[in-house]
């Protein structure tokens, strides 16, 4: 009941005319136009450093920096050092993004993007996969584009949204844990039924995605993914206008897991494991649905993911065990309380680059993630070969303001409260609530 009340409070602000929901292309569309020049080679610094070679090609230089001050209660802790007391770690400064990249077009047929994270180079934390989006897109037809390389597996709205466009400093725990993230592969995609802004994506990937890796090692082999998104209600003219532009999506992935202790595990943002890896053999399958509704200064977004992992012959005596089931959802609301934001998430009256103070948005998110299994013989247990897995779940509240100073700079202050249900699996004796605080300065260009 308290949960519903809080969600209701987030939705209280008056409804205003619609803006475009999450749309990655809006960023580029929102760029200020670069004056045309008769010269073949043209260098511009208008939106970002950009080199244009006539109509043949262009090269945009991208960079993205996140400077975080993070605090944890209980403190962040290296789990294997079980025998030492919890250290009292003061809030610590981290560089969590230091990305450099190139993005552009070659003729009207090819788009490309290359991006690498350099934070390990600047001495911050370890990064298992420093190469990020690195792909080429071939525009074969208005209804058929072919993307090859490394990019985000088409699954999950939040997981597929660029991090500098998130309403919070970090994604929901559900997206972090259940979404596949980036992988090498080939994908067909395009927009169709333009009136409904429908988009399809379907691809095959070498592994299951970096999101499910364990210490950088893949846990599943070739994976197929498909996603269908858009605003299908636009065609239903009888519906109220603010309902018609609800964005909806559905996605699915399926891949064969590598045998072994490769089941998905649950951990808090600070790294405490509350649901260990289980032995698996067979397919991993995800089903996801997504929703986004933007009405003036208010937006509501939500996702639901259901994942199953097979355990063929994984019992102590080689018997088949019921699937591991992981289920998560989140619902977030945000309210642009001061200033106005464009659909791209940039302030209409920017600070420094304009004559305003930018824009301030407040957001709240409830995120629930549960791990369990279908019923099997015997009492529920936490054993990695338990027929019936004793469930555990995490309920996370995240809230805080975001100040959009201008198109390049954003400051976020978030607090995140994670609560675990299985008292036996509490990562720290006597604690089932984990707090994370973060202040982030984001520079993106």
């Amino acid at each position: 009941m308290r949960t519903l009340l809080l969600i209701g409070l987030l939705l209280l602000p008056e409804m205003l005319p619609a803006q475009n929901p999450s749309d990655e292309t809006a960023l580029e569309e929102d760029d200020e136009p670069v004056a045309s020049s008769p010269e073949t080679l043209q260098l511009s610094f208008k939106n970002r450093p950009s080199l244009r070679i006539g109509d043949f090609a262009n090269i945009d230089f991208k960079t993205k920096w996140h400077f975080d001050l993070r605090g944890f209660d209980p403190p962040k802790w290296d789990a294997p050092a079980r025998v030492t007391a919890l250290p009292s770690t003061p809030p610590t400064f981290y560089v969590t993004r230091a990305r450099l990249g190139l993005k552009g077009k070659v003729t009207k047929y090819f788009d490309y993007e290359f991006e690498r994270d350099m934070r390990q180079t600047v001495g911050s934390d370890h990064e298992w996969h420093p190469w990020k989006d690195n792909y080429v897109d071939f525009n074969a037809h208005r209804w058929l584009q072919v993307r090859a390389g490394k990019f985000k597996v088409p699954f999950g709205m939040e997981a597929n949204l660029s991090e500098d466009r998130l309403d919070f400093a970090f994604k929901s725990r559900m997206s972090d844990i259940l979404s596949p993230s980036r992988e090498r592969g080939v994908m067909l995609h395009a927009q169709f039924l333009r009136s409904s802004r429908m988009q399809y994506q379907a691809g095959v990937f070498r592994y299951d995605g970096e999101g499910s890796n364990i210490h950088g090692v893949p846990t599943a082999g070739r994976t197929y993914a498909a996603r269908l998104t858009g605003e299908p209600l636009r065609t239903l003219r009888r519906l109220p206008r603010n309902i018609r532009h609800i964005y909806l999506g559905v996605a699915v992935t399926r891949g064969r897991m590598f045998d072994g202790l490769n089941g998905t595990n649950g951990s808090t943002f600070s790294g405490f494991t509350y649901f260990d890896h289980f032995y698996v053999r067979g397919n991993r399958q995800r089903l996801g649905t997504e929703l986004s509704w933007v009405e003036g200064p208010v937006s509501v977004k939500g996702e639901y993911i259901h994942m199953s992992e097979e355990r063929i012959g994984q019992g102590i005596r080689g018997e088949n065990l019921p699937d591991i089931l992981s289920r998560g959802w989140y619902l977030l609301g945000s309210w642009n309380v001061l200033g106005k934001l464009k659909s791209s998430g940039r302030p209409k009256t920017p600070l420094l680059t304009g004559h305003g103070f930018g824009s301030i948005e407040v957001s709240g998110r409830l995120d629930v993630l549960t791990f369990y299994s279908a019923p099997g013989p015997g009492l529920p247990s936490r054993s990695p070969r338990a027929p019936t897995i004793l469930p555990n779940s995490e309920r996370t509240w995240t809230f805080g303001p975001t100040w959009y100073l201008n198109r390049f700079v954003k400051i976020q202050a978030n607090a995140q409260r994670e609560r675990l249900t299985d008292i036996e699996r509490k990562a720290v004796i006597g604690r089932d609530v984990f707090w994370t605080g973060i202040i982030r300065l984001q520079l993106a260009m």
């Binding site: 294997p80 079980r82 210490h215 090692v217 102590i316």
Partner: protein, 435 residues
């Protein structure tokens, strides 16, 4: 009608009798030394393969973590595996379907006939097996009789010391005979509760990492714990400072106040009784062993600074019939200072040694009877053991063992039992004091 009532009552009584038999097993039954037990373990074959692959890495990994070394970004190896545990007793099959198993042992660690540690509460903290949380299945690969450990612990308890209970068992792994093992009670809060009526004090296991003779290594508590004194409980709220003070007192207390100052930190009666017991059974790898201090637990009682030493791993006991009673006394700092400044403690030690000799007896005495009893109990199981190992003189190299070596070692143990008491008494009577 009356007959029906009588029949119902009799049937109920029969059911109750059956149930009481089936569920009446106790810890005393499990450690009943009068019978040879049978334990069956079931584990996924691929887990046992991984167990052997990671056996040695697990040990190194734990020491790295204890030493506070930077944790490698590489995946940490799996050390615990799920196991189905069965104990066959009096026709009953007492079982726990999901327990955890890991490799056990340091110098004796091997992949041929590994020792196991069973954690009954690994996946459910309220799970116990007959009230036990852990159980060790010792393969006894270092000495050919497989009896040193059990006989020694039996002797310790006979001396009135708190020592783990043990019994021999045939162990089957996935229905294959894996050999003759010893069931060993783990020293944990349950053991402490049973022996001291409390288990919430601070329990440390001594991890041998380098030579240490109780010398003071400065005020930094990290020099003493988590290595070499590894905390076994109260992991979140460690309190190692009393250990530092204990060691400082051993080293720096004035001669005149040595006993009284040290008694704040150590139960000296118990300590010198344990030294006497170890000395009597010629323990080569104990508190005053040849590798400096080793093989003990330290328990500090709730709300006090006082600790007690608890014996562990006596595979190198019965080292030599003529091992001197003050062997290594002038090497170990505590005993050296006791020799120099605390005649009361040395007198105590002598008294306990005499008591040990009385308990063990000579030919036909308790020690010989115990060895003979165990020998008769395990002989066939040992002969059937396809994986028996030994390293008779602690060379560090385990090798397959023969039945003849077993018989020879048992013969030596009986000789030890017959002659050791006389040797110890002779040394005591000689008034020998080491320099």
């Amino acid at each position: 009608m009356r007959n029906l009532t009588i029949a119902s009552v009799l049937a109920s009584l029969a059911v109750l009798t059956f149930c009481s038999q089936a569920f009446a097993q106790t810890q005393d039954d499990l450690f009943n030394g009068d019978i040879l037990h049978e334990i069956r373990l079931y584990t996924a074959p691929e887990d046992y393969e991984t167990f052997k692959e990671t056996n040695f890495t697990c040990q190194a990994q734990e020491l790295e973590a204890l030493a506070g070394e930077v944790i490698s970004p590489l995946p940490r190896v799996i050390c615990w595996f799920p196991v189905e545990f069965h104990w066959k007793f009096n026709g009953a099959d007492v079982t726990l379907p999901q327990a955890g198993i890991e490799s056990h042992g340091k110098g004796s660690r091997n992949n041929y006939k590994p020792s196991f540690k069973i954690d009954f509460s690994r996946y459910e903290s309220r799970n116990t097996f007959l009230g036990l949380r852990y159980l060790v299945l010792r393969a006894n690969p270092q000495e050919p009789s497989t009896m040193h450990e059990r006989v020694a612990m039996e002797f310790f308890r006979k001396m009135g010391l708190r020592a783990p209970r043990e019994a021999h068992a045939r162990v089957f792994l996935n229905d294959q005979y894996a050999g003759l093992y010893t069931i060993v009670e783990e020293i944990d809060p349950i053991f402490l509760q049973r022996n001291f009526g409390e288990g919430d004090g601070r329990l440390y296991a001594y991890e041998w990492v380098d030579y240490w003779i109780f010398d003071y290594r400065g005020p930094d508590s990290l020099k003493y714990s988590p290595l070499p004194l590894k905390p076994e409980n109260n992991l979140i709220n460690l309190d190692p400072q009393p250990i530092v003070e204990m060691v400082r007192t051993i080293n720096e207390a004035p001669d005149a106040q040595f006993s009284s100052a040290l008694s704040q930190y150590i139960d000296l009666q118990s300590f010198f009784k344990e030294l006497a017991a170890e000395s009597f059974i010629a323990e080569q790898d104990g508190i005053i062993g040849d590798y400096t201090v080793n093989n003990f637990f330290l328990y500090r009682f709730v709300g006090t600074l006082r600790s007690i030493f608890l014996p562990w791993d006596k595979s190198n006991a019965f080292w030599a019939i003529d091992r001197p009673i003050f062997h290594n006394f002038s090497w170990n700092l505590l005993t050296r200072r006791a020799l120099a400044a605390a005649p009361d403690l040395i007198a105590l030690y002598r008294d306990y040694l005499r008591q040990a000799a009385d308990i063990a007896g000579g030919p036909g005495g308790w020690l010989e009877q115990e060895i003979t009893k165990e020998y008769q109990q395990i002989r066939q199981a040992y002969y059937d053991d396809p994986l028996k190992l030994c390293d008779h003189h602690a060379t560090g190299y385990l090798r397959p063992c023969t039945n003849q070596e077993f018989e020879d070692e048992v013969a030596y143990l009986i000789q030890f039992a017959r002659q050791r008491a006389a040797f110890v008494r002779a040394q005591l009577d000689s008034g020998l004091i080491p320099q």
